[in-house]
Symmetry: D2
Amino acid sequence: MAGNTFGKLFTVSTFGESHGPALGCIVDGCPPGLPLSSADLQKDLDRRKPGTSRYTTQRREADEVEILSGVFEGKTTGTPIGLLIRNTDQRSRDYDKIKEQFRPAHADYTYQQKYGFRDYRGGGRSSARETAMRVAAGSIAKIALAQPSFGGVKVRGYLSQLGPIVLDRSGFDWDEIENNAFFWPNASQIPELEAYMQKLSKDGDSIGAKVNVQADNVPVGWGEPVFDRLDADIAHGLMSINAVKGVEIGAGFAAVSQRGTEHRDEITSQGFLSNQAGGVLGGISSGQSITAALALKPTSSLRLPGRSVDIQGNDIEVITTGRHDPCVGIRATPIAEAMLALVLADHAMRHRAQNADVKQGTPIIPAGRA
Amino acid sequence: MAGNTFGKLFTVSTFGESHGPALGCIVDGCPPGLPLSSADLQKDLDRRKPGTSRYTTQRREADEVEILSGVFEGKTTGTPIGLLIRNTDQRSRDYDKIKEQFRPAHADYTYQQKYGFRDYRGGGRSSARETAMRVAAGSIAKIALAQPSFGGVKVRGYLSQLGPIVLDRSGFDWDEIENNAFFWPNASQIPELEAYMQKLSKDGDSIGAKVNVQADNVPVGWGEPVFDRLDADIAHGLMSINAVKGVEIGAGFAAVSQRGTEHRDEITSQGFLSNQAGGVLGGISSGQSITAALALKPTSSLRLPGRSVDIQGNDIEVITTGRHDPCVGIRATPIAEAMLALVLADHAMRHRAQNADVKQGTPIIPAGRA
Amino acid sequence: MAGNTFGKLFTVSTFGESHGPALGCIVDGCPPGLPLSSADLQKDLDRRKPGTSRYTTQRREADEVEILSGVFEGKTTGTPIGLLIRNTDQRSRDYDKIKEQFRPAHADYTYQQKYGFRDYRGGGRSSARETAMRVAAGSIAKIALAQPSFGGVKVRGYLSQLGPIVLDRSGFDWDEIENNAFFWPNASQIPELEAYMQKLSKDGDSIGAKVNVQADNVPVGWGEPVFDRLDADIAHGLMSINAVKGVEIGAGFAAVSQRGTEHRDEITSQGFLSNQAGGVLGGISSGQSITAALALKPTSSLRLPGRSVDIQGNDIEVITTGRHDPCVGIRATPIAEAMLALVLADHAMRHRAQNADVKQGTPIIPAGRA
Amino acid sequence: MAGNTFGKLFTVSTFGESHGPALGCIVDGCPPGLPLSSADLQKDLDRRKPGTSRYTTQRREADEVEILSGVFEGKTTGTPIGLLIRNTDQRSRDYDKIKEQFRPAHADYTYQQKYGFRDYRGGGRSSARETAMRVAAGSIAKIALAQPSFGGVKVRGYLSQLGPIVLDRSGFDWDEIENNAFFWPNASQIPELEAYMQKLSKDGDSIGAKVNVQADNVPVGWGEPVFDRLDADIAHGLMSINAVKGVEIGAGFAAVSQRGTEHRDEITSQGFLSNQAGGVLGGISSGQSITAALALKPTSSLRLPGRSVDIQGNDIEVITTGRHDPCVGIRATPIAEAMLALVLADHAMRHRAQNADVKQGTPIIPAGRA
């Protein structure tokens, strides 16, 4: 209820501050019998890890995750899975000077006012460091989704825009994403991205970005009508990621200027002919791929001075030193994948709780077309 | 858990199908002592009501709401408020021919597959008729928010784009919104909108739209960190409205190409200098106005034939006769207001549950600036 | 969150006051495809209905239930089921004199203090009249539980003690329960019960009672470890019934003076040899019958004067006229059955949500033995 | 939803197995600004700790708790509090022989059937070792309850029956409870208890017990009507403790044979004249002390052989060696206190979320009388 738990049946509850002793989470409701080791989680954690490229924060964290419970002889037991990552590179002294300052566009001011005081070290609980546990939990969700009884769902993501540079989809290649520091699926644009980031770094400024996520093989029928529509829960999950300012499903904002004849995905006995809907009709998965996009604001921590006030309300000028991503959108890709995976695993279980007895005859149309 | 309840402390649970005997809801957790009569609810219901203009469905529903509980001697008692609207204009016979058909871009196919069979009359539970109860519940939330202890919050909305026609903000006037059939805050553009809709109607096609909602006087401090951020719950609420494909907070997708120096809202002792954030920092309200926008897809029910399959998987052609809004976005305005009000009332209560004892000293900066 | 909803997956949310226009509820999460008509609900409602014997309140209520949604062509659709019962025999004038009085052992004082004012007519929301909706919802749970996929669970209850009169189990006969006004499973004791109640009525006093409930055919595996143990949720459900002061599972308080060798239910390849556990081990059903008991306090509404205070704190003497059950425990039997059925249906769904893929080999021991 | 979280606003979620690497929990929703250190938690943990007397298990665990988050500069921040206790004395080898056996009256059989396999070491998740985290979380709840804004509530408990030995209330002394190994409030009965336990130990048998808990200074108004009555949530919390088979509020099962004139607590301008209700009327606290009792079954782990089956269903004889409490009821006292404190802290916050604006005039009657 205090906002640190996500999901209803497959849930993750996180704790931990940027400069506290540790981050941790409990993943509860996971089906028993799934293969799970800390190495499985480490793979996605390493994709999100700071300090891996010159375009991300230089904070050095091993982000080594320990499984404390819920796994026995290499398999999940059905009981809660406790995960722990110790913070190692804390450097609290860097933050003493902002103790009494509110950095513009950060949560400093709102935390101070909400709680009456705040852990000012590195943003405390509001730091994106918290997302490490989302990624670890999301990896468990991905393992669940990959099971045959969950349809063998596969969740992937990529960066589709970095400031003014828009993905050229003519050269789209899923296999390129892990080959560059940008999660960018078109190798030919990497030099342009690198040049842009170097210029940005020289300017001391930051930039926004757009991330796309997609889930393939989602069975028809997941999602609840009305308030807990599958797309509404995806919007909740994606918008809960630090710095996100917008979420789209399928056609998204392009739908505003579409006509009905253009937007409606016609159906044939061979499957759907298009996917403007993003794989969701009436809040329920249609068997097509789920597609979503999210807008990330530029990093708020800047070397360039900005106007603000201190805790007494005096006008001041703030410069944020320290180690920060100039584009938080880049590392958001594995986080967005994690949130999509968590929503889907949760809805898979909600669906079967109610509808396990529904007889599905011959598939009416082929799954996953278009 | 089956998706028909919204909120954690101030909750609404709805029931009812398009062509069943009635729609209803329970609003639970409402503070005691608020003035409430059915006339208060009727005002917003009438704004959403079908059949009020030539641009909306011609279904005729009185949408008269009855309060069944939770109000005594004109005041809320703190116990659950039961609301009921009888369906009067049901005309089920209109729908017999679609009994075995899946209309493209409707929820017919997904409901059939999820539950094994479906109430095919007018879309059953997936019909936007369900949103009547959201509007009624939202009116109660608005009354709560208007109380001094809730900050005197005011929630309003308007249409900002209809297909190709974009709101000219130079002539923005809140007072114009209720003077036209489009919830449009610029009187000078009404003739253009009318002409567009007449042409559309002649074509038998439909069109998308964009709606903006705003809440003024929101106190600083509402919203929970991490998963239940205020903006994440707003995204959840808005995306749960029928036909919504995208949600933005503040700058929204424009943030993708913004630089940090452009996006960050600087602060002075006189208040914030801009509101790119949309009134939310780190998931918590900043004291600025909350601003959000949503994209609505064009109506799926069209006179123009579309390809689909029937329940046996045979290819067919579908024409949707009957009475439908050519632009569902128009009537979405009061619904979007309702969802925003419900999110805010809920978070107001969540905030004070935990933080009622937080001593707030002199306001650090003026509330609501920018 | 305001306490009017029960269950997590199979849920019931109720509304309505003793003397308001109507009682109602929403049953959400019910599996689709179950046969359901209002006649199915009426059977249990009639068992609980006031005015059916000289030993229960003479208030006359038809308690006719209307299904407003969630059922189509005689089957549940999987969408929320709205139920409504209009109050007909309200006689509010009877209650005017207690407007400013707090009746001892009633909720008058606590409601007044919690909410600042109260609907004083017949106890308002605190009246046991609210339990009509529990019974209706419980009937739906019973229908779900009777399905093969839920194990064909059967829920029954009976009165086992009325003041000083204890059930003679040597003449126990399930078939007798519906043949008398006491839900008493031993016909030979009925004259004694009748004589006791007549004497009590003459005295103007009331008496406590004990009710037992039992569920047969519950599959092994229902219930969650730790906090949401099956027995903990049963205790929650039963203790939430008006006037209940104690709950036992299996041996209950007798376990306090049992030795381990006496209490432990030994197991053989033919099944369990006893059922001290009441069918729950470690919070999870064992395949044996679930057995529970509840203690009900004597009715608080008495003709015999009692000391109290009025709303200004003045000492007064209170006499409760009106129509009241001299033993609320009698009519509690169908209510207790309903709560047990609701807990079981909920846990059946929670279990399969997580464990649908668990391969159950040959049953290790016969189900339901002992 | 998988049962490892307790509470709605002030919540605790636990993880950990008896012989896994660690136990842990997240306490979420705690108000900010409360003084908190690990030493505060250690006090209650030491009261529950194994190996402290000859009457409890000889397992040696330091049970040293580490606070991982949510506390900054000695005060709670309002963000989730992560707690960790490493298991040190695991001795898994002791349990290898029961790998394929189901111990009678343990959860071995039900876990195996629910999840398809189980962590058999020391009962895994079903071990009472899990309750260490309840005690730690309960200590935080106690600190919150002790604040003036929570009424300065004080929670205490004691053993009132051990097998045949019933507490002699004529010598009741709260101060004696911490002076003996039995949490027993009458020093004169300690020799009798010691003699009984020695005889029991010689027999190799175990015994049941009864624990009482009480909360003083609870303000009037806590608890929600209908399903989440304060007493129903207390019953849920207490029944969720390992080995509990019954729960009473106030008069409990004695109410079954009480007359209305005996049970009703009369009120005068000086306060209530008795407390048969146990401090709860209509599910809402009355301002009197909350009183509850719980029945604990005898320990199931016995040296005396018992009949059971193995995982293949073969008849076997089971002897439980290892280190076990001969009376689990003794150490249940601090656990029961913890659960009562958790329920009260949660309801305190639920109450003020909805009713923070209720004007309380002059108290109608003195609080806490009788």
